[in-house]
Assembly symmetry: C2
Homo-oligomer: 270 residues x 2
Amino acid sequence: MRLQNSDLPALRADIRAGRYRSHTAGLGAGYLQTNLVILPEAYALDFMRFCQRNPKPCPLVGVSDTGDPMMRTLGHDIDIRTDVPAYNVYRDGSLEGSVTDISDLWTDDMVAFALGCSFTFEDALARAGIAVWHVEHDTTVPMFRSNIQTVASGPFSGRMVVSMRAIPEDRVDDAAAISRRFPLAHGAPVHAGDPSELGISDITRPDWGDPAPVGPGTVPVFWACGVTPQVALEAAAPRLCITHKPGHMLITDIPDTAEVPVLAPTPGNQ
Amino acid sequence: MRLQNSDLPALRADIRAGRYRSHTAGLGAGYLQTNLVILPEAYALDFMRFCQRNPKPCPLVGVSDTGDPMMRTLGHDIDIRTDVPAYNVYRDGSLEGSVTDISDLWTDDMVAFALGCSFTFEDALARAGIAVWHVEHDTTVPMFRSNIQTVASGPFSGRMVVSMRAIPEDRVDDAAAISRRFPLAHGAPVHAGDPSELGISDITRPDWGDPAPVGPGTVPVFWACGVTPQVALEAAAPRLCITHKPGHMLITDIPDTAEVPVLAPTPGNQ
């Protein structure tokens, strides 16, 4: 059920018009989906440095010009004010609410950041025959606050959030090798095995998402998680910040096999 | 002749003291070497977006805090004012001269950017038995202004500069696969074959570097080149800009096999 490129404009039109407001899991197979962070320009350089210094939890795949809502490197017609199914709005670091359109909040000093997400490598694991429990059971991946410190930048800091997938013992090395091929989707795991080494005392009680069992013959494997920047944003507490609503991602025009997340420049007499 | 980590502090001390002022080719085998761009903060966000949008010519591997000369994510004690063997100083887009220490030019509003360089994948090609002419003959790789437009950001724009290596016909696919594994060192080639497709009319007359023959049974293969940001910097013409002197790279403490170019964060009760 891989999405055809020809379906993308219709889906994006539905999202833009507010007709589609649900999560995007499974919709973007074959195309890069991304997390979203929108900040005033005064925070942009520090946040971009935070992403550069923490590329596993925060893989930058696109950045708008200041005040320009079009994500020009990620698609032919992506308006970040309308083309995500649902947004979370934060003021002074606290969640104010969720909306499906941010046209009234976008101002000339805003910068939009798109960050890679785990859907990309989960698709690749599935294609390699490595089943992931939360995908098969249509729940949200369990996420935990780890004891790994991120590298701070200006007001952005905090511990890395990790997601957990229980992988059959004999496929752990495969899962690591496969996910390492997707540096823009968190890359290789940060840890496999004993959760206590990451400071996680109870694997059955995630800090975010739904619990998932670690069955017999499986190993808990932990990946850097895209919730990490939200923790860093709470620490920075900018006056206004807008993110996607978890699970409600930006779907780009970039194939998930692309070497770089940029609409291909073409040779020619330009 | 791979450099041992224990040799790095001594080499860096020689560079810092001005005793070593020569090029760094061959010195950094095993460790990531980088290009360098230093700019006033007013240009930093636009330049960082330029690098994000053009990751093949401009792979960002480290960015300093504004005014902080220590490259904290790239090494344990790297002072960017002294730890590169030679620097080029540009004023208003024009080369003013070369120096071996920029302590007197560094100010509180400066930001230093480290960009990956081709030494990393050339080492990998050599280990795979793919000989590269300019390395074997101790000349500078031939570089050409191509007809590929970079993706502009603010004042930064221009055509992509490409480097050329003649690769035996039966190893072109291997060379592409090997270099693709190093996204922080320009990644896969941008073109293999007829130079005219890149707008290059005479392969024997490079725009930068030394000519290199394209012998019988070899194919000219073109990679995105770290001279590209210098062309973009000439277009932007900031009042002051400092780069490394070509070939005189920053040697980091990051192994060139590292998944991400950041000193590894360690789990623990920090």
